[in-house]
C-alpha cells in the first residue's frame, strides 16, 4: 500500500476523495431512508396529538397547533376496556413466555443430554412439524378448546405454551446446549449433583443469551398475535391489545359521540406499539441475536 501511494500519489488521492464521496452518499441515503421508514410513525404521533377539528384541516398540518396529550387519556375514557386490553395482553404474554421458556428449556435439555428410546425419532418429528402451516392444526385445536369449554377465555392463548414452548424454541435451545462442553455436566455429576441441579447450577448461568433471546421473541409474538385472540375471544373485556385495536375500528367511538376519533385511534395505535418498542430498546442485542440465530442455524 505504501509503495502504491508513493508511486501513484495522484491516484491515491483520488481514491480517498472517492471514498469520502461514497461516505457522504451513504449518509444521505441512510438519512433519506430513515425518513421514509419513520414518516408514517411521525405522522401518526402528530395526529394522535391533534384536536378533533384539526383533523378536517386541508392540507393536513404535520404537527398539531397545541399537542393534546389529553387524547391519550381520552382513549381510556371512550373505550373503557382499553386498559383491560393491556392487562389481558400482559397476562397472556407473561404466562405464555414464562411457560414456553421453562418447558422448552427442560425439553431441550432432554434432547441435548439424555439418551432415551425414541429420542431421535421424536426430535425428527419435532423438526418436521416446523414446516407445516399452523392452519392445518388450527381447526382441531379450536374444537379441542371448545370441548374443554375454553372458548372466550385466554387459556387457549397461553396453556399450550407450557407443553414444550413450540418446536422452534426447543430446537434453538437444544443447539445452544449442545455447544456447551459435556465435561462441565460430568464434573458436577461426579460431585453428586442430580440432572436438575446440573441444569440449574451449571448450564443455566451459561444459557442467559439464548433464554433472553427466546423470551424476547416469544413476547413479541404473543403481543402481536392476532389470529389466536380473533378465533378464541368474543367479549371485549377479554380482548388482548392486538385484537382490541380492531374493536376501535369496527365500532368507531365517533358514531356515538358525533365527532371523528381518528386522533384517538392513532393514540391507541401508538400505545399498542409502545411496549414492543420499549422491549426492543431495552433488549436490542438479544433481539438481533435471536433473529440472526434463527436465520443461521434454522
Amino acid at each position: 500500500m505504501a509503495l502504491k501511494a508513493q508511486s501513484m500519489p495522484k491516484e491515491f488521492r483520488s481514491v480517498r476523495a472517492s471514498r469520502r464521496a461514497t461516505m457522504v452518499l451513504s449518509y444521505v441515503a441512510m438519512v433519506l431512508l430513515s425518513v421514509l421508514f419513520m414518516f408514517p410513525w411521525f405522522w401518526t404521533m402528530g395526529t394522535s396529538l391533534k384536536r378533533a377539528p384539526e383533523l378536517f384541516i386541508y392540507p393536513p398540518p404535520f404537527v398539531p397547533e397545541i399537542p393534546q396529550w389529553d387524547n391519550y387519556i381520552e382513549v381510556f375514557r371512550r373505550v373503557p376496556f382499553f386498559g383491560r386490553f393491556f392487562i389481558n395482553s400482559t397476562i397472556v404474554v407473561v404466562l405464555s413466555t414464562g411457560g414456553g421458556v421453562l418447558s422448552a428449556l427442560l425439553v431441550a435439555y432432554s434432547f441435548a443430554r439424555f439418551e432415551w428410546r425414541g429420542r431421535d425419532i421424536i426430535f425428527g418429528i419435532t423438526l418436521a412439524t416446523m414446516m407445516l402451516p399452523d392452519q392445518v392444526t388450527q381447526i382441531p385445536k379450536y374444537l379441542l378448546f371448545k370441548y374443554l369449554k375454553w372458548m372466550d377465555t385466554i387459556k387457549p392463548l397461553w396453556v399450550p405454551a407450557w407443553f414444550g414452548g413450540g418446536a422452534f424454541s426447543i430446537f434453538l435451545i437444544r443447539q445452544f446446549i449442545m455447544s456447551i462442553p459435556r465435561e462441565l455436566d460430568e464434573a458436577a455429576k461426579i460431585d453428586g449433583a442430580n440432572p436438575l441441579r446440573v441444569l440449574v447450577t451449571i448450564l443455566l448461568p451459561l444459557m442467559k443469551p439464548v433464554i433472553a433471546t427466546i423470551s424476547v421473541m416469544s413476547f413479541l409474538w404473543g403481543w402481536n398475535d392476532f389470529m389466536g385472540p380473533l378465533i378464541y375471544l368474543a367479549t371485549p373485556e377479554k380482548f388482548t391489545v392486538a385484537l382490541g385495536m380492531r374493536y376501535f375500528d369496527v365500532t368507531p367511538a365517533g358514531q356515538s359521540w358525533g365527532m371523528p376519533t381518528d386522533h384517538l385511534l392513532m393514540a391507541a395505535s401508538v400505545m399498542s406499539t409502545l411496549p414492543i418498542i420499549i422491549l426492543f430498546f431495552s433488549a436490542q442485542r438479544y433481539f438481533v441475536q435471536g433473529i440472526v440465530m434463527s436465520g443461521i442455524k434454522g
Binding site: M30, L33, S110, L143, W223
Partner: protein, 321 residues
C-alpha cells in the same frame, strides 16, 4: 456399551428385564438417565401429541367429512377437495391473488433488505441508530399497521395523496380502489418488511464474510461489482436462501393486514387464501371443507419449500462444506 461383543450378547439379553427391553438400557446409570430424560421431555411429548400430531390426524379426517360443529361429521371422501378445485369460485382466485401478493412482496423485500444491510455494513458512525429506524416498522402490530396505513392512504384527504398532489400526481384510491388495493397492501408490506428480519439476517451474513476474501479480490484487481458478485453474493447465499424461504412462507400466509385494512375487499381484490380459509372455518363453521382447504394450503407451502431446497443446491454455497 458398544464394547459388548457378539458372544456376550445372548447372555446379556437373557438377564434383562422387560423394562430394560422396553427402554433399552443396560446399567442402572443408563436407566436413571433414561428416566430423567423422559421426564424432562414429558411436557413436549404431551404437547406434541395433543397440540400437533393429534390435530394433524383429526384434521386429515375432517377434511374428508362435512362437519358443522353441531352434528356428527358426515363422511364425504374426497368431495371437499373436488369442491375446492371445481366448484368454489373463490378458491383459485384467492390462491392466485396470494401468489401475486407473494411475487410482489418477496423479491423487493429481499433485494431492498440486502441494499439496506450493505449500507449499514460500511461501518459508518450511527449505524445502530439507522438500523433501529429501519427496524421499527417491522415491530408495528399488524392491526396498528393496517389502521395507520388505511388512514394515511385515504383517497381524498389522506396525507399520501396530498403529498402526491403537490408534485402534480392525482393519487389513486389505494385501498378503496379494487385496482389498487392489492398493490397498496404489497407496498405496505414493503414498508413493514424491508428493514425487518431480512435486513438483520443479511447484516449478520455480511459481517461474517472474511476480509481476506476481499483483499484477495483486490489483489486480483476486481472492481466493486465483481467483488459483490464473486465474493459477497456467494458468501451470503445461505442468508439469502433463508430469507427467501421464510419470505415466501410468510407472504403466502398473509392474513391480519388484509383482514383489518380491507376485510378482503373492495370487490374481493384482497381476498387472500388465508382469509378464504378463515371464512369457511370461523364464519360459516364448515370445518370439514376448511380442513380440506388447510391441507391444500399445507401441500402448496411444502411443495414450494421443497422445490426451493432442491433448487438451492445449485446456488447456495455453504462455506463449511
Amino acid at each position: 456399551m458398544s464394547t459388548t461383543t457378539v458372544a456376550e450378547l445372548p447372555l446379556a439379553r437373557r438377564r434383562r428385564s422387560w423394562l430394560a427391553k422396553l427402554l433399552r438400557y443396560r446399567t442402572m446409570g443408563e436407566l436413571r438417565d433414561c428416566l430423567w430424560g423422559m421426564a424432562f421431555a414429558l411436557p413436549w411429548l404431551i404437547g406434541l401429541l395433543v397440540f400437533v400430531l393429534g390435530p394433524i390426524i383429526v384434521s386429515v379426517y375432517l377434511s374428508l367429512t362435512r362437519y358443522d360443529i353441531i352434528s356428527t361429521p358426515e363422511f364425504l371422501g374426497l368431495d371437499n377437495f373436488k369442491r375446492a378445485f371445481f366448484e368454489d369460485e373463490l378458491f383459485w382466485a384467492s390462491l392466485g391473488r396470494t401468489f401475486k401478493y407473494a411475487v410482489g412482496v418477496v423479491p423487493v423485500s429481499i433485494v431492498g433488505a440486502l441494499v439496506l444491510a450493505m449500507l449499514l455494513n460500511q461501518g459508518h458512525k450511527g449505524t445502530n441508530l439507522f438500523r433501529t429506524f429501519y427496524f421499527l416498522p417491522h415491530l408495528t402490530p399488524a392491526v396498528a399497521m393496517a389502521l395507520l396505513w388505511r388512514w394515511l392512504l385515504q383517497p381524498s384527504v389522506g396525507p399520501v395523496n396530498y403529498a402526491l398532489k403537490q408534485v402534480g400526481i392525482n393519487g389513486p384510491g389505494w385501498l378503496a380502489d379494487p385496482k389498487w388495493a392489492l398493490n397498496s397492501l404489497i407496498m405496505v408490506a414493503w414498508w413493514g418488511s424491508l428493514g425487518g428480519n431480512n435486513m438483520l439476517i443479511f447484516l449478520a451474513g455480511l459481517q461474517g464474510v472474511p476480509q481476506e476474501l476481499y483483499d484477495a479480490a483486490d489483489v486480483d484487481g476486481a472492481g466493486r461489482w465483481r467483488k459483490f458478485l464473486n465474493v459477497t453474493l456467494p458468501m451470503i447465499s445461505p442468508a439469502l436462501f433463508f430469507n427467501l424461504i421464510m419470505g415466501v412462507i410468510g407472504a403466502l400466509k398473509v392474513f391480519a393486514m388484509a383482514f383489518v385494512a380491507t376485510g378482503g375487499g373492495p370487490s374481493r381484490a384482497t381476498w387472500f387464501y388465508a382469509l378464504h380459509l378463515y371464512n369457511w372455518a370461523f364464519q360459516y363453521f364448515e370445518m370439514g371443507y376448511a380442513a380440506a382447504l388447510a391441507w391444500i394450503f399445507a401441500f402448496v407451502v411444502i411443495v414450494i419449500t421443497l422445490v426451493q431446497f432442491k433448487l438451492s443446491k445449485g446456488w447456495v454455497f455453504y462455506a463449511g462444506e
